[in-house]
């Protein structure tokens, strides 16, 4: 009996913490490190989204360190074999359940509001960011979080509430040294 309970708890635990996302990849153009004014293109792919318990994908949130500015969408995710609707670029959105999202893309299901898309991917997207013109070595981290029914509140029976943010870049702004020559007198 003890053994059965242990196995049951293990199974429940695995289901609750299962990740729906897999096969993530990215490219950065150019590659870091970065100086003020550098413009960087980020290409990100989520190869597969497996919605456990009919848990559909809803949004891709871009998390940027304060050293970035000028976030610009270049290519929205596709919706292969997905629900009717489109990916909407949004800087900020509060879902009906109170969850705050943004910036990034969120799926607007035009058939049934709040359902996301049934597509399992792949989802390919790209955006551009610029290194701020500052004098301090500010954080330049980039990560992407995938949100779904469970997080946005559209479906309470989902199983992907703990998908971790996918890290794309860690670093700080490289401040070039200012080297002034000695003062000369003609």
């Amino acid at each position: 009996m003890k053994k059965v309970l242990t196995i049951l708890f293990l199974l429940i635990g695995l289901t609750a913490s299962s990740q729906c996302i897999s096969n993530q990849s990215f490219t950065l153009t150019p590659v870091g490190p970065y100086q003020p004014g550098d413009v960087v293109t980020v290409d990100y792919t989520l190869g597969n989204f497996t919605g456990i318990n009919i848990n559909w994908i809803h949004a891709f949130q871009i998390n940027l360190g304060p050293g970035w500015t000028g976030l610009t969408p270049l290519l929205a995710p596709g919706n292969p074999a997905g629900s009717i609707g489109n990916w909407l670029w949004d800087l900020q959105n509060t879902y009906p359940g109170g969850f705050n999202f943004g910036p990034g893309w969120r799926f607007v299901n035009t058939g049934t509001a709040g359902w996301g898309t049934s597509s399992t991917g792949p989802f390919i997207m790209s955006f551009q960011v610029t290194v701020a013109s500052v004098c301090t070595p500010d954080d330049l981290s980039i990560s992407i979080e995938v949100f779904d029914d469970c997080t946005t509140g559209g479906w309470s029976n989902g199983g992907c509430c703990v998908d971790p943010a996918y890290n794309i870049y860690n670093g700080v702004i490289q401040i070039p040294p200012i080297i002034t020559s000695n003062i000369n007198h003609f």
């Binding site: 200012i178 002034t180 000695n182 000369n184 007198h185 003609f186």
Partner: protein
Amino acid sequence: MKKFITVLFVCFGLASYGQTTINPDTVCANAVGEQYFVTNTPTSTYNWTITGGGGVLQTGQGTNSITVDWGGVSGLYPNAVEVIESNANGCPGAPVLLDVFVLNLTGNAIGPFCEGDPTTPLVGNPAGGTWSGTGVVANSFQPSTGVGNYVLTYTLGGCNTTINVVVNNGPVTGPIQHF
């Protein structure tokens, strides 16, 4: 060919960097239009500050080269010239400083002389300079040079000052008479 290239590089180097000023810099009292510069970075701006020595920045603020007029009070003025370079993003670099010594020369007045007077040493302040002019030999004036007005120049550290010296006719004494 190798020698030619070496000479070319040396010449180019000199043309690019010019002279190097030793700290402290020396300027003459009441000098005007003295030019100070740092190596230029085209995308940078330069903020200059002149402190002490009666110095007044005249032209060039914001650029890598300025002109300054100096006052007349002799002395050493620490950090009299300061420049802070800022790059294209407005980020400032470390201040670069230059001490300035304002050199005010004076020459002690001498004379008037008569033609037959002995050679007289010339004294300049600060000491260590060189006297020049008609009648000057080894930093002394020789009245035997002759009757006239002379302008003598005292030179030190690239600065100079002048004094005027007069040599008069000596009294003309007739022959001794016997009543």
